[in-house]
């Protein structure tokens, strides 16, 4: 309704509206394992203030968060823990790989270090740097927001694929066997 009482409509797609809501309410889960974690804390604090982008509600339980920031080196022994924490997060979930170590192993090209977390979990945004500056982290966050708005993230593509197969349920996770039976082929 407008001020004079006449009917006014604002039309949009429901998916776009949901994506708009999602991108402004990212709840980060901080997976800070080394010095990138300190830079992530600086980004969250008042000087750079990640709360401007709606990502200030840092949760230390993966069940309450939807964006995982992997900040720092992930050792071989840490890999199953990272995978477990990722699997405990509810869909839709996003992953930001922060820094050279998380993205590619960095300078640690040795037996004990995972060569990039994308060997274990899917990643949406990579932020380069050793460590990245807070501006870089914010740029990564804004890129992730753009991707969420366009529906390009891994979680949203998975959701779309499940909807096409009539398997999507907001509160139930489909098993890999069900998805395979419905004829879904990975890209």
């Amino acid at each position: 309704m407008s001020k004079d009482g006449s009917a006014v409509f604002f039309t949009t797609k429901l998916d776009d509206f949901v994506s708009w809501g999602r991108k402004h309410s990212l709840w980060p889960y901080p997976f800070g394992t080394s010095c990138c974690g300190i830079e992530m804390m600086a980004t969250l604090c008042s000087d750079y203030d990640m709360a401007r982008f709606g990502a200030e509600a840092v949760r230390f339980s993966p069940k309450q968060a939807d964006m995982m920031i992997v900040a720092g080196i992930v050792n071989t022994k840490m890999a199953p823990i990272l995978r477990t924490v990722y699997e405990q997060m509810a869909e839709p979930k996003w992953v930001m790989s922060m820094g050279a170590c998380a993205s590619s192993g960095g300078i640690f090209n040795v037996y004990s270090v995972t060569q990039g977390i994308d060997t274990i979990i899917p990643v949406d945004v990579y932020v380069p740097g050793c460590p990245p500056s807070p501006e870089g982290v914010l740029h990564g966050l804004m890129s992730l927001q753009d991707m969420i708005q366009k529906g390009e993230t891994r979680a949203q593509r998975r959701e779309q694929a499940l909807k096409r197969l009539n398997l999507f349920h907001p509160f139930k996770t489909s098993t890999a066997g069900e998805i395979k039976d419905a004829g879904y082929k990975a890209e």
Binding site: T76, K77, Y111, I120
Partner: protein
Amino acid sequence: MDINTPVTELYGSYFDKYSEIWKNQINTIQSKFSGAIEEVRFPREYPTDMPILYVKKESLIAVLEELKIAMGYNFLSDLTATDEEISPRFEMVYHLLSHENMARIRVKTRVNEGEDVPTATVLWMAANWPEREVYDMFGIKFSGHPHMRRILMDERWVGHPLRKDYPLRGYQLFPDTPAPKADLLEKSDR
């Protein structure tokens, strides 16, 4: 002590102070365990910062016990191994410190691949985790150790990473958590 004293002079006074103590102790050990001491390396004669005793594996614990109880080397400050790529392949290294004399001594044992070493946990309980680390990194097993299993790497790891023939980039990836073991928490002496 003057702050401008050269380091060589500092070490010289350190050797002067302790060389008599070391010589007496090593003579006592050599007379007591005749044949067990393979070789003695002394500072100034050999580039080392403390005397090195090469002991036969069979009398290792007896020598360590003598050093701990009779000579006052009460503190095991380090326990590790090296891969020498010769025969015998490994050298076990024990660093001992005497709080009474403030002197240090190093005991070494040569071990072949596949051989067991007697555990030092009978003398120092602190040897528990270093021995597990040596097993993890070099594959040397310790007979009599209370809980001989890997400490740093994943339990499913194949090989021992600090051996010289282990590939530098020998990655092994274990994305899934191993199944919990039922008896793990019941063992008190981990």
